[in-house]
Amino acid sequence: MVYRLAYAQLRSRRDADDIFQEVFLRYHRAAPSFAGEEHRKAWLLRVTANCAKSLAASPWRRRTVPLEDVYAYTDPEESGLDAALAQLPPQYRSVIHLCYFEGCSTKETAQILGRRSSTVRAQLTRARQMLAQLLKEEL
């Protein structure tokens, strides 16, 4: 969950490693209490999204070109989608990931990412359009 969202946003296994450690370090330090597992999940996803956003925005990362450090897929359909995802803006990828993989609603996604629901809906629509265009077929 944590690792996958970090990877979806940053598309780097090394960066995902760093985020994974950072999130659990914060979990350890903050020692939050949760109302239930859904609450814990939302907390972890929210912190992951914030950490990944901070890392992506860091001056050092913006001035460097990451080395090729991604998962490889042999299935043409999977590799095609993976390549298309790589071309999406990171904020679109996090929306796609939370909605399509974590099964979050647009409202939940908005809460996790700290965006408005309308923004998330617009980003989801735009992401789907871009993917459709990139994949050259109807979704």
Partner: protein, 312 residues
């Protein structure tokens, strides 16, 4: 294409490595986390591991880099490419290019790796321009037998190194098992070598003058049998006067295999040290299995004063 289904297939293999999870849990245990939260964290980690992990490895070298310098780990681009040979793993942990400087953290892990090992000048940044480089050991983890090195290359003309391109780093070998001895007594009666000795001009030699001069002297002693063995791998092979200066020759064995080296000086009758005027370096049979490297110390001392001196 069903994007939900395909995206689900894409995501399932993406997972942290077991090493990474173990490291997180170990760190938590070390900090004495209450059992309840530890259990919750283990459960969370188990959830994250519900899919089989792919080969997203966390190398021990990168972990050492975090221990040595968290700031470096933050500002360097992680690479974590490694290879293993003869039980020793070399990992390029992280690299950074800033202006005219390229830096790489390299780690060596394995039983043979000790705290005094070095890359023996065998490292190289394969870059298409003139550069100067250096390498220093920056950390050693005794438990893991892992040493970390910071290798640096700088362009000669100060021009920036292009970023975004491929940069290859290689290291041919490393030196381990080093030891150092000081104040070793050398049982050599110098008055026995106060005469002129056979000399030769080597095919190629390097000279290091203590006063920074270079007066063009090129003759060295003809290597002979062992006169004394100050330390394992170092042998005094000749001594005597050449062109009015006292030479004493130290054989270092094959320096391309073992970087044995020493420093000799004289102590006059009052015990005061007399430094060499210059040092000559040359090799016989270079490029062959019989290669022998020599270091020759040359002193400006009279024959009478030499008879009252000792070698250190």
């Amino acid at each position: 294409m069903n994007i939900t289904e395909t995206y689900g297939r894409l995501c399932r293999p993406i997972a942290p490595s077991p090493d990474l999870i173990e490291k997180n849990l170990t760190r938590t245990r070390r900090h004495g986390l209450p059992l309840r939260r530890l259990a919750a964290m283990a459960a969370a980690a188990a959830v994250l591991l519900s899919a089989p992990a792919l080969a997203a490895r966390t190398e021990p070298g990168y972990q050492l880099l975090y221990a040595i310098s968290p700031a470096a780990a933050q500002f360097f681009q992680p690479v974590r490419r490694s290879c293993t040979s003869s039980g020793v793993t070399m990992e390029v942990a992280a690299v950074r290019i800033e202006g005219d400087t390229a830096e790489a953290y390299i780690t060596l892990s394995g039983e043979a790796v000790d705290g005094a090992c070095d890359l023996f000048d065998s490292y190289n940044f394969h870059l298409p321009f003139d550069r100067i480089g250096s390498c220093e050991q920056v950390g050693y983890n005794e438990e893991a037998h892992t040493a970390a090195f910071l290798c640096t290359a700088k362009t000669m003309d100060g021009s920036p190194i292009p970023t975004g391109g491929k940069m290859t780093f290689s290291a041919g070998c490393f030196l381990t098992g080093k030891s150092e001895q000081t104040d070793v007594e050398i049982p050599l009666r110098l008055k026995d070598y106060a005469g002129d000795a056979a000399a030769m001009t080597p095919d190629s030699a390097g000279f290091a003058f203590t006063d920074g001069s270079s007066d063009g002297r090129s003759r060295v002693l003809v290597p002979g049998d062992a006169l004394a063995v100050p330390a394992e791998g170092l042998t005094v092979t000749a001594a005597g006067f050449v062109d009015g200066l006292f030479h004493i020759q130290l054989c270092r064995g094959d320096a391309s295999q073992q970087d044995n080296h020493g420093w000799l000086w004289l102590a006059d009758r009052d015990g005061k040290p007399v430094e060499s005027l210059y040092t000559a370096y040359f090799a016989t049979a270079p490029g062959t299995l019989d290669r022998q490297d020599y270091q020759e110390f040359v002193f400006e001392v009279s024959r009478e004063a030499l008879a009252e001196s000792t070698l250190r």
